[in-house]
Symmetry: C2
Amino acid sequence: VDLPSTVAGAEGVRGRRPAVGEPVLDRAFRLLGCFQPGDAALSLASLSARTAIPKATALRLARKLVEQGALERQDDGSYVPGLRLLELASLAPRGHGLRAIALPYMEDLHVATRQHVLLAVREEHASVLVERLSAHEAGRMMYRVGGRMPLHATGVGLVLLAHADFVTREEVLRKPLIIEPESIRVSDLAVRRRLDAVRREGIAVMARPHPEPMVSLAAPIFGRGGEIVAAVSVVAPDGGPRPRELRAAVVTTARAISRGLLL
Amino acid sequence: VDLPSTVAGAEGVRGRRPAVGEPVLDRAFRLLGCFQPGDAALSLASLSARTAIPKATALRLARKLVEQGALERQDDGSYVPGLRLLELASLAPRGHGLRAIALPYMEDLHVATRQHVLLAVREEHASVLVERLSAHEAGRMMYRVGGRMPLHATGVGLVLLAHADFVTREEVLRKPLIIEPESIRVSDLAVRRRLDAVRREGIAVMARPHPEPMVSLAAPIFGRGGEIVAAVSVVAPDGGPRPRELRAAVVTTARAISRGLLL
Protein backbone atom coordinates (compact mmCIF):
# COMPACT_ATOMS: atom_id res chain seq x y z
CA VAL A 1 0.00 0.00 0.00
CA ASP A 2 2.94 2.34 -0.34
CA LEU A 3 2.96 2.77 -4.09
CA PRO A 4 3.34 6.27 -5.47
CA SER A 5 -0.12 7.78 -5.38
CA THR A 6 -0.30 8.15 -9.18
CA VAL A 7 0.12 4.40 -9.54
CA ALA A 8 -2.43 3.71 -6.83
CA GLY A 9 -4.76 6.16 -8.55
CA ALA A 10 -4.32 4.64 -11.99
CA GLU A 11 -5.12 1.15 -10.68
CA GLY A 12 -8.79 1.92 -10.81
CA VAL A 13 -10.17 -1.52 -9.90
CA ARG A 14 -13.56 -0.59 -8.55
CA GLY A 15 -14.08 -1.61 -4.94
CA ARG A 16 -10.51 -2.76 -4.41
CA ARG A 17 -8.96 0.68 -4.34
CA PRO A 18 -8.70 2.14 -0.84
CA ALA A 19 -11.02 5.09 -0.12
CA VAL A 20 -9.55 8.22 -1.70
CA GLY A 21 -7.46 10.23 0.72
CA GLU A 22 -6.58 7.60 3.25
CA PRO A 23 -3.10 6.72 2.04
CA VAL A 24 -2.39 10.35 1.17
CA LEU A 25 -3.11 11.63 4.67
CA ASP A 26 -1.14 8.80 6.26
CA ARG A 27 1.83 9.59 4.05
CA ALA A 28 1.56 13.32 4.70
CA PHE A 29 1.67 12.75 8.45
CA ARG A 30 4.52 10.29 8.00
CA LEU A 31 6.48 13.06 6.25
CA LEU A 32 5.64 15.63 8.94
CA GLY A 33 6.48 13.14 11.69
CA CYS A 34 9.85 11.97 10.39
CA PHE A 35 11.79 14.99 11.70
CA GLN A 36 13.92 14.31 14.78
CA PRO A 37 15.07 16.76 17.47
CA GLY A 38 18.64 16.96 16.16
CA ASP A 39 17.67 17.70 12.53
CA ALA A 40 18.43 21.13 11.16
CA ALA A 41 16.57 20.47 7.88
CA LEU A 42 15.93 17.42 5.69
CA SER A 43 16.59 17.04 1.97
CA LEU A 44 14.00 15.41 -0.25
CA ALA A 45 16.23 12.31 -0.38
CA SER A 46 16.25 12.07 3.45
CA LEU A 47 12.49 12.59 3.64
CA SER A 48 12.00 9.82 1.10
CA ALA A 49 14.46 7.46 2.81
CA ARG A 50 13.07 7.99 6.32
CA THR A 51 9.46 7.51 5.31
CA ALA A 52 9.94 4.87 2.59
CA ILE A 53 7.88 7.08 0.31
CA PRO A 54 9.18 7.16 -3.30
CA LYS A 55 10.96 10.38 -4.14
CA ALA A 56 8.49 11.58 -6.77
CA THR A 57 5.55 11.09 -4.39
CA ALA A 58 7.46 12.65 -1.51
CA LEU A 59 8.19 15.71 -3.66
CA ARG A 60 4.55 16.12 -4.63
CA LEU A 61 3.41 15.74 -1.03
CA ALA A 62 6.13 18.06 0.26
CA ARG A 63 5.04 20.75 -2.22
CA LYS A 64 1.45 20.47 -1.05
CA LEU A 65 2.59 20.66 2.58
CA VAL A 66 4.66 23.75 1.78
CA GLU A 67 1.58 25.34 0.18
CA GLN A 68 -0.30 24.66 3.43
CA GLY A 69 2.57 26.03 5.53
CA ALA A 70 3.01 22.68 7.30
CA LEU A 71 6.50 22.42 5.82
CA GLU A 72 8.84 25.28 4.92
CA ARG A 73 11.34 25.05 2.09
CA GLN A 74 14.79 26.49 2.81
CA ASP A 75 16.92 28.33 0.25
CA ASP A 76 19.02 25.19 -0.31
CA GLY A 77 15.92 23.13 -1.17
CA SER A 78 15.72 21.28 2.14
CA TYR A 79 12.60 21.17 4.31
CA VAL A 80 11.74 22.00 7.93
CA PRO A 81 8.43 21.73 9.84
CA GLY A 82 6.42 24.89 9.24
CA LEU A 83 5.00 27.55 11.46
CA ARG A 84 1.44 26.69 10.39
CA LEU A 85 1.69 23.62 12.64
CA LEU A 86 2.14 25.93 15.61
CA GLU A 87 -0.93 27.90 14.61
CA LEU A 88 -3.00 24.70 14.36
CA ALA A 89 -1.53 23.24 17.56
CA SER A 90 -2.22 26.45 19.45
CA LEU A 91 -5.92 25.57 19.60
CA ALA A 92 -5.43 22.03 20.95
CA PRO A 93 -7.09 22.14 24.38
CA ARG A 94 -4.62 19.63 25.83
CA GLY A 95 -1.70 21.62 24.39
CA HIS A 96 -1.75 25.39 24.43
CA GLY A 97 -5.26 25.54 25.93
CA LEU A 98 -4.12 23.79 29.10
CA ARG A 99 -0.82 25.66 28.92
CA ALA A 100 -2.49 29.08 28.84
CA ILE A 101 -4.24 28.31 32.13
CA ALA A 102 -1.26 26.59 33.75
CA LEU A 103 1.55 28.94 32.71
CA PRO A 104 1.10 31.77 35.25
CA TYR A 105 1.00 29.24 38.11
CA MET A 106 4.01 27.42 36.68
CA GLU A 107 5.87 30.73 36.55
CA ASP A 108 5.08 31.37 40.20
CA LEU A 109 6.48 27.95 41.11
CA HIS A 110 9.50 28.59 38.92
CA VAL A 111 10.19 31.98 40.48
CA ALA A 112 9.63 30.63 44.01
CA THR A 113 11.94 27.62 43.56
CA ARG A 114 14.32 28.66 40.71
CA GLN A 115 14.06 25.06 39.42
CA HIS A 116 12.74 23.40 36.24
CA VAL A 117 8.95 23.28 36.12
CA LEU A 118 7.25 20.77 33.80
CA LEU A 119 3.69 20.27 32.56
CA ALA A 120 2.77 16.97 30.88
CA VAL A 121 -0.28 15.08 29.63
CA ARG A 122 -0.75 11.42 28.78
CA GLU A 123 -1.00 10.35 25.13
CA GLU A 124 -1.65 6.62 24.83
CA HIS A 125 1.19 4.86 26.66
CA ALA A 126 3.52 7.85 26.99
CA SER A 127 3.48 11.31 28.45
CA VAL A 128 4.00 14.39 26.29
CA LEU A 129 5.74 17.46 27.64
CA VAL A 130 3.43 20.44 27.06
CA GLU A 131 5.55 23.09 28.77
CA ARG A 132 8.88 23.42 30.47
CA LEU A 133 10.27 26.44 32.29
CA SER A 134 14.01 26.30 32.85
CA ALA A 135 16.34 28.67 34.62
CA HIS A 136 19.80 29.36 33.18
CA GLU A 137 21.30 27.94 36.36
CA ALA A 138 19.09 24.82 36.67
CA GLY A 139 20.67 21.49 35.65
CA ARG A 140 20.50 19.90 32.19
CA MET A 141 17.28 18.09 31.24
CA MET A 142 16.57 15.19 28.89
CA TYR A 143 13.13 16.32 27.81
CA ARG A 144 11.81 18.98 25.43
CA VAL A 145 8.37 20.50 24.75
CA GLY A 146 6.40 18.28 22.37
CA GLY A 147 8.64 15.30 23.17
CA ARG A 148 7.52 12.00 24.68
CA MET A 149 8.58 10.61 28.04
CA PRO A 150 8.00 7.15 29.53
CA LEU A 151 5.16 6.89 32.03
CA HIS A 152 7.02 4.61 34.46
CA ALA A 153 10.32 6.52 34.64
CA THR A 154 9.46 10.17 35.31
CA GLY A 155 7.66 12.01 38.09
CA VAL A 156 4.91 13.38 35.82
CA GLY A 157 4.62 9.98 34.14
CA LEU A 158 4.06 8.15 37.44
CA VAL A 159 1.35 10.64 38.38
CA LEU A 160 -0.39 10.28 35.00
CA LEU A 161 -0.17 6.48 35.20
CA ALA A 162 -1.31 6.31 38.84
CA HIS A 163 -4.53 8.12 37.95
CA ALA A 164 -5.09 6.62 34.48
CA ASP A 165 -8.02 4.27 33.83
CA PHE A 166 -7.54 0.62 34.79
CA VAL A 167 -7.20 -0.69 31.22
CA THR A 168 -4.47 1.79 30.24
CA ARG A 169 -2.58 1.14 33.47
CA GLU A 170 -2.61 -2.62 32.96
CA GLU A 171 -1.54 -2.28 29.31
CA VAL A 172 1.47 -0.18 30.34
CA LEU A 173 2.39 -2.48 33.24
CA ARG A 174 2.20 -5.57 31.03
CA LYS A 175 4.98 -4.26 28.73
CA PRO A 176 8.70 -4.46 29.61
CA LEU A 177 9.40 -1.49 31.90
CA ILE A 178 12.87 -0.23 31.01
CA ILE A 179 14.61 2.82 32.45
CA GLU A 180 16.79 4.58 29.86
CA PRO A 181 19.61 5.35 29.17
CA GLU A 182 20.85 2.79 31.71
CA SER A 183 18.57 0.03 30.27
CA ILE A 184 17.56 -1.08 33.77
CA ARG A 185 14.47 -3.27 33.77
CA VAL A 186 12.08 -2.68 36.66
CA SER A 187 9.39 -5.17 37.69
CA ASP A 188 5.74 -4.26 37.28
CA LEU A 189 5.33 -5.02 40.98
CA ALA A 190 7.84 -2.31 41.89
CA VAL A 191 6.00 0.18 39.68
CA ARG A 192 2.63 -0.87 41.14
CA ARG A 193 3.93 -0.14 44.63
CA ARG A 194 5.09 3.27 43.49
CA LEU A 195 1.71 4.00 41.92
CA ASP A 196 -0.06 3.05 45.16
CA ALA A 197 2.19 5.50 47.01
CA VAL A 198 1.49 8.24 44.45
CA ARG A 199 -2.27 7.84 44.89
CA ARG A 200 -1.97 7.65 48.68
CA GLU A 201 0.36 10.63 49.08
CA GLY A 202 -0.94 12.82 46.24
CA ILE A 203 2.59 13.30 44.91
CA ALA A 204 5.29 11.34 43.04
CA VAL A 205 8.93 11.62 44.05
CA MET A 206 11.38 10.19 41.53
CA ALA A 207 15.17 10.43 41.70
CA ARG A 208 17.09 10.03 38.43
CA PRO A 209 20.87 9.88 37.93
CA HIS A 210 20.82 10.94 34.20
CA PRO A 211 21.89 13.18 32.56
CA GLU A 212 22.64 14.70 35.97
CA PRO A 213 21.46 13.51 39.42
CA MET A 214 18.08 15.14 39.92
CA VAL A 215 14.86 14.61 41.79
CA SER A 216 11.41 15.24 40.39
CA LEU A 217 8.30 15.96 42.46
CA ALA A 218 5.04 15.72 40.53
CA ALA A 219 1.39 16.27 41.41
CA PRO A 220 -1.88 15.62 39.54
CA ILE A 221 -4.10 18.21 37.84
CA PHE A 222 -7.75 17.16 37.77
CA GLY A 223 -10.56 18.23 35.44
CA ARG A 224 -14.16 19.14 36.08
CA GLY A 225 -15.27 15.53 36.47
CA GLY A 226 -12.42 14.58 38.80
CA GLU A 227 -10.53 12.86 35.95
CA ILE A 228 -6.80 13.40 35.59
CA VAL A 229 -5.93 15.97 32.93
CA ALA A 230 -2.22 16.61 33.39
CA ALA A 231 0.67 16.56 35.85
CA VAL A 232 2.96 19.34 36.97
CA SER A 233 6.42 18.82 38.44
CA VAL A 234 9.42 20.63 39.79
CA VAL A 235 12.79 19.08 38.98
CA ALA A 236 15.76 19.99 41.16
CA PRO A 237 19.42 18.92 41.02
CA ASP A 238 21.05 16.83 43.70
CA GLY A 239 22.36 19.25 46.29
CA GLY A 240 19.62 21.78 45.48
CA PRO A 241 16.54 22.25 47.67
CA ARG A 242 15.46 19.05 49.45
CA PRO A 243 12.30 17.29 48.25
CA ARG A 244 10.50 18.06 51.51
CA GLU A 245 11.04 21.79 50.87
CA LEU A 246 9.35 21.55 47.45
CA ARG A 247 6.48 19.20 48.29
CA ALA A 248 3.85 21.70 49.42
CA ALA A 249 4.69 24.12 46.59
CA VAL A 250 4.11 21.49 43.86
CA VAL A 251 0.85 20.26 45.37
CA THR A 252 -0.37 23.85 45.79
CA THR A 253 0.47 24.65 42.16
CA ALA A 254 -1.31 21.53 40.87
CA ARG A 255 -4.41 22.43 42.87
CA ALA A 256 -4.31 26.03 41.65
CA ILE A 257 -4.20 24.86 38.02
CA SER A 258 -7.05 22.38 38.65
CA ARG A 259 -9.08 25.25 40.05
CA GLY A 260 -8.13 27.39 37.03
CA LEU A 261 -9.55 24.70 34.72
CA LEU A 262 -13.00 25.07 36.32
CA LEU A 263 -13.32 28.78 35.45
CA VAL B 1 -13.66 20.82 -6.97
CA ASP B 2 -15.32 20.38 -3.63
CA LEU B 3 -17.39 17.30 -4.35
CA PRO B 4 -17.43 14.53 -1.78
CA SER B 5 -14.25 12.53 -2.41
CA THR B 6 -16.17 9.33 -3.15
CA VAL B 7 -17.95 11.09 -6.01
CA ALA B 8 -14.69 12.60 -7.27
CA GLY B 9 -13.14 9.15 -7.00
CA ALA B 10 -15.95 7.39 -8.83
CA GLU B 11 -15.82 9.93 -11.64
CA GLY B 12 -12.92 8.11 -13.12
CA VAL B 13 -12.52 10.18 -16.30
CA ARG B 14 -8.92 9.45 -17.05
CA GLY B 15 -6.78 12.58 -17.21
CA ARG B 16 -9.50 14.91 -15.96
CA ARG B 17 -9.41 13.81 -12.38
CA PRO B 18 -7.12 15.97 -10.20
CA ALA B 19 -3.95 14.25 -8.99
CA VAL B 20 -4.82 11.96 -6.11
CA GLY B 21 -4.12 13.49 -2.74
CA GLU B 22 -4.19 17.12 -3.57
CA PRO B 23 -7.78 17.86 -2.68
CA VAL B 24 -7.60 15.49 0.28
CA LEU B 25 -4.71 17.32 1.92
CA ASP B 26 -6.28 20.69 1.27
CA ARG B 27 -9.52 19.53 2.84
CA ALA B 28 -7.73 17.97 5.82
CA PHE B 29 -5.94 21.25 6.56
CA ARG B 30 -9.20 23.13 6.05
CA LEU B 31 -10.74 20.95 8.77
CA LEU B 32 -7.79 21.41 11.13
CA GLY B 33 -7.75 25.15 10.47
CA CYS B 34 -11.44 25.87 11.01
CA PHE B 35 -11.20 25.93 14.82
CA GLN B 36 -11.39 29.39 16.37
CA PRO B 37 -10.00 30.60 19.71
CA GLY B 38 -13.40 30.64 21.44
CA ASP B 39 -14.39 27.09 20.40
CA ALA B 40 -14.63 24.44 23.09
CA ALA B 41 -15.19 21.63 20.57
CA LEU B 42 -16.89 21.32 17.18
CA SER B 43 -19.55 18.82 16.15
CA LEU B 44 -19.31 17.10 12.79
CA ALA B 45 -22.12 19.36 11.56
CA SER B 46 -20.12 22.49 12.53
CA LEU B 47 -16.95 21.15 10.92
CA SER B 48 -18.89 20.46 7.74
CA ALA B 49 -20.61 23.85 7.74
CA ARG B 50 -17.46 25.87 8.45
CA THR B 51 -15.39 24.15 5.79
CA ALA B 52 -18.11 23.58 3.18
CA ILE B 53 -17.05 19.93 3.11
CA PRO B 54 -20.00 17.52 2.81
CA LYS B 55 -20.79 15.72 6.05
CA ALA B 56 -19.91 12.20 4.84
CA THR B 57 -16.51 13.37 3.57
CA ALA B 58 -15.89 15.43 6.69
CA LEU B 59 -16.62 12.37 8.84
CA ARG B 60 -14.21 10.19 6.87
CA LEU B 61 -11.48 12.83 7.03
CA ALA B 62 -12.11 13.50 10.72
CA ARG B 63 -11.75 9.78 11.47
CA LYS B 64 -8.42 9.66 9.65
CA LEU B 65 -7.26 12.76 11.48
CA VAL B 66 -8.27 11.19 14.80
CA GLU B 67 -6.24 8.09 13.88
CA GLN B 68 -3.25 10.37 13.29
CA GLY B 69 -3.86 12.24 16.55
CA ALA B 70 -4.33 15.53 14.70
CA LEU B 71 -7.91 15.67 15.98
CA GLU B 72 -9.26 14.22 19.21
CA ARG B 73 -12.81 12.95 19.57
CA GLN B 74 -14.59 13.88 22.79
CA ASP B 75 -17.02 11.60 24.63
CA ASP B 76 -19.98 13.52 23.16
CA GLY B 77 -18.75 12.90 19.59
CA SER B 78 -17.40 16.43 19.02
CA TYR B 79 -13.85 17.14 17.88
CA VAL B 80 -10.92 19.27 19.13
CA PRO B 81 -7.42 19.81 17.69
CA GLY B 82 -5.16 17.00 18.87
CA LEU B 83 -1.97 16.86 20.85
CA ARG B 84 -0.11 15.29 17.91
CA LEU B 85 -0.09 18.77 16.32
CA LEU B 86 1.96 20.03 19.26
CA GLU B 87 4.44 17.18 18.81
CA LEU B 88 4.82 17.99 15.11
CA ALA B 89 4.98 21.75 15.73
CA SER B 90 7.60 21.30 18.43
CA LEU B 91 10.23 20.66 15.75
CA ALA B 92 9.41 23.76 13.66
CA PRO B 93 12.61 25.84 13.84
CA ARG B 94 10.66 29.11 13.67
CA GLY B 95 8.29 27.86 16.39
CA HIS B 96 9.60 25.89 19.32
CA GLY B 97 13.17 25.85 17.98
CA LEU B 98 13.43 29.62 18.19
CA ARG B 99 11.42 29.58 21.39
CA ALA B 100 13.77 27.16 23.14
CA ILE B 101 16.66 29.56 22.57
CA ALA B 102 14.69 32.71 23.34
CA LEU B 103 12.72 31.58 26.39
CA PRO B 104 15.38 31.92 29.14
CA TYR B 105 16.17 35.48 27.96
CA MET B 106 12.48 36.29 27.74
CA GLU B 107 12.06 35.05 31.31
CA ASP B 108 14.87 37.31 32.47
CA LEU B 109 13.16 40.29 30.83
CA HIS B 110 9.84 39.23 32.31
CA VAL B 111 11.27 38.89 35.84
CA ALA B 112 13.18 42.17 35.53
CA THR B 113 10.17 44.19 34.27
CA ARG B 114 7.13 42.18 35.55
CA GLN B 115 5.43 42.98 32.21
CA HIS B 116 4.19 40.95 29.22
CA VAL B 117 7.01 39.67 27.03
CA LEU B 118 6.23 38.64 23.44
CA LEU B 119 8.14 36.77 20.73
CA ALA B 120 6.84 36.88 17.14
CA VAL B 121 7.91 35.92 13.63
CA ARG B 122 6.60 37.05 10.25
CA GLU B 123 4.46 34.67 8.19
CA GLU B 124 3.58 36.19 4.82
CA HIS B 125 1.80 39.49 5.55
CA ALA B 126 1.18 38.93 9.25
CA SER B 127 3.14 38.22 12.38
CA VAL B 128 2.56 35.07 14.41
CA LEU B 129 2.95 35.08 18.18
CA VAL B 130 5.40 32.28 19.06
CA GLU B 131 5.58 32.90 22.79
CA ARG B 132 4.04 35.13 25.40
CA LEU B 133 4.93 35.42 29.06
CA SER B 134 2.30 37.17 31.16
CA ALA B 135 2.24 38.08 34.80
CA HIS B 136 -0.99 37.72 36.81
CA GLU B 137 -0.91 41.46 37.46
CA ALA B 138 -0.04 42.62 33.93
CA GLY B 139 -2.90 44.10 31.86
CA ARG B 140 -5.16 42.18 29.47
CA MET B 141 -3.77 41.34 26.00
CA MET B 142 -5.47 40.81 22.66
CA TYR B 143 -3.03 38.22 21.33
CA ARG B 144 -2.41 34.52 22.00
CA VAL B 145 0.35 32.07 21.10
CA GLY B 146 -0.15 30.73 17.59
CA GLY B 147 -2.42 33.66 16.73
CA ARG B 148 -1.82 36.23 13.98
CA MET B 149 -1.24 39.94 14.48
CA PRO B 150 -1.13 42.76 11.90
CA LEU B 151 2.35 43.91 10.91
CA HIS B 152 1.49 47.62 10.88
CA ALA B 153 -0.33 47.84 14.21
CA THR B 154 1.87 46.14 16.81
CA GLY B 155 5.39 46.75 18.10
CA VAL B 156 6.72 43.37 17.00
CA GLY B 157 4.92 43.73 13.65
CA LEU B 158 6.55 47.12 12.93
CA VAL B 159 9.97 45.64 13.68
CA LEU B 160 9.36 42.63 11.43
CA LEU B 161 8.06 44.87 8.65
CA ALA B 162 10.86 47.44 8.98
CA HIS B 163 13.47 44.72 8.37
CA ALA B 164 11.50 42.63 5.84
CA ASP B 165 12.62 42.37 2.22
CA PHE B 166 11.57 45.23 -0.07
CA VAL B 167 8.95 43.22 -2.00
CA THR B 168 7.13 42.05 1.14
CA ARG B 169 7.21 45.54 2.63
CA GLU B 170 5.72 47.12 -0.48
CA GLU B 171 3.02 44.45 -0.73
CA VAL B 172 1.96 45.12 2.85
CA LEU B 173 2.06 48.91 2.42
CA ARG B 174 -0.02 48.76 -0.75
CA LYS B 175 -2.96 47.18 1.11
CA PRO B 176 -5.43 49.18 3.23
CA LEU B 177 -3.75 49.64 6.63
CA ILE B 178 -6.49 49.42 9.25
CA ILE B 179 -6.07 49.51 13.01
CA GLU B 180 -8.58 47.26 14.78
CA PRO B 181 -10.87 47.20 16.70
CA GLU B 182 -11.29 50.96 16.15
CA SER B 183 -11.22 50.55 12.32
CA ILE B 184 -8.90 53.54 11.96
CA ARG B 185 -7.23 53.69 8.57
CA VAL B 186 -3.61 54.87 8.60
CA SER B 187 -1.79 56.11 5.49
CA ASP B 188 1.10 54.12 4.10
CA LEU B 189 3.18 57.29 4.40
CA ALA B 190 2.64 57.39 8.16
CA VAL B 191 3.66 53.72 8.44
CA ARG B 192 6.72 54.34 6.21
CA ARG B 193 7.86 57.10 8.55
CA ARG B 194 7.45 54.78 11.50
CA LEU B 195 9.46 52.05 9.75
CA ASP B 196 12.27 54.52 9.03
CA ALA B 197 12.35 55.40 12.72
CA VAL B 198 12.37 51.72 13.72
CA ARG B 199 15.39 51.05 11.48
CA ARG B 200 17.17 54.20 12.65
CA GLU B 201 16.56 53.70 16.37
CA GLY B 202 16.72 49.89 16.51
CA ILE B 203 13.44 49.76 18.42
CA ALA B 204 9.70 50.21 17.78
CA VAL B 205 7.52 52.04 20.27
CA MET B 206 3.79 51.63 19.74
CA ALA B 207 1.03 52.88 22.03
CA ARG B 208 -2.35 51.16 21.78
CA PRO B 209 -5.58 52.09 23.57
CA HIS B 210 -7.24 48.60 23.26
CA PRO B 211 -8.23 46.46 25.09
CA GLU B 212 -6.46 48.59 27.71
CA PRO B 213 -4.07 51.52 27.19
CA MET B 214 -0.64 49.95 26.76
CA VAL B 215 2.69 50.65 25.17
CA SER B 216 4.78 48.08 23.36
CA LEU B 217 8.55 48.30 22.87
CA ALA B 218 9.95 45.84 20.31
CA ALA B 219 13.43 45.04 19.01
CA PRO B 220 14.72 42.86 16.15
CA ILE B 221 16.36 39.42 16.47
CA PHE B 222 18.80 38.74 13.64
CA GLY B 223 20.05 35.41 12.25
CA ARG B 224 23.48 34.25 11.19
CA GLY B 225 23.35 36.11 7.86
CA GLY B 226 22.12 39.38 9.38
CA GLU B 227 18.55 38.67 8.20
CA ILE B 228 15.65 39.33 10.55
CA VAL B 229 14.37 36.17 12.25
CA ALA B 230 11.97 37.39 14.91
CA ALA B 231 11.05 40.30 17.16
CA VAL B 232 10.80 40.46 20.95
CA SER B 233 8.76 43.02 22.86
CA VAL B 234 7.75 44.09 26.30
CA VAL B 235 4.21 45.39 26.68
CA ALA B 236 3.39 47.58 29.67
CA PRO B 237 0.14 49.24 30.79
CA ASP B 238 -0.33 52.99 30.87
CA GLY B 239 0.86 54.16 34.26
CA GLY B 240 3.36 51.28 34.47
CA PRO B 241 7.07 51.74 33.82
CA ARG B 242 7.86 54.49 31.29
CA PRO B 243 9.06 53.45 27.82
CA ARG B 244 12.48 54.98 28.42
CA GLU B 245 12.93 52.69 31.44
CA LEU B 246 12.28 49.58 29.31
CA ARG B 247 14.21 50.55 26.17
CA ALA B 248 17.67 49.24 27.02
CA ALA B 249 16.28 46.02 28.52
CA VAL B 250 14.37 45.10 25.33
CA VAL B 251 17.30 45.85 23.04
CA THR B 252 19.65 43.88 25.31
CA THR B 253 17.28 40.89 25.30
CA ALA B 254 16.94 40.94 21.50
CA ARG B 255 20.72 41.03 21.12
CA ALA B 256 21.18 38.19 23.62
CA ILE B 257 18.72 36.02 21.68
CA SER B 258 20.44 36.89 18.37
CA ARG B 259 23.72 35.80 19.92
CA GLY B 260 22.06 32.60 21.20
CA LEU B 261 20.98 31.77 17.62
CA LEU B 262 24.63 31.69 16.51
CA LEU B 263 25.63 28.93 19.00
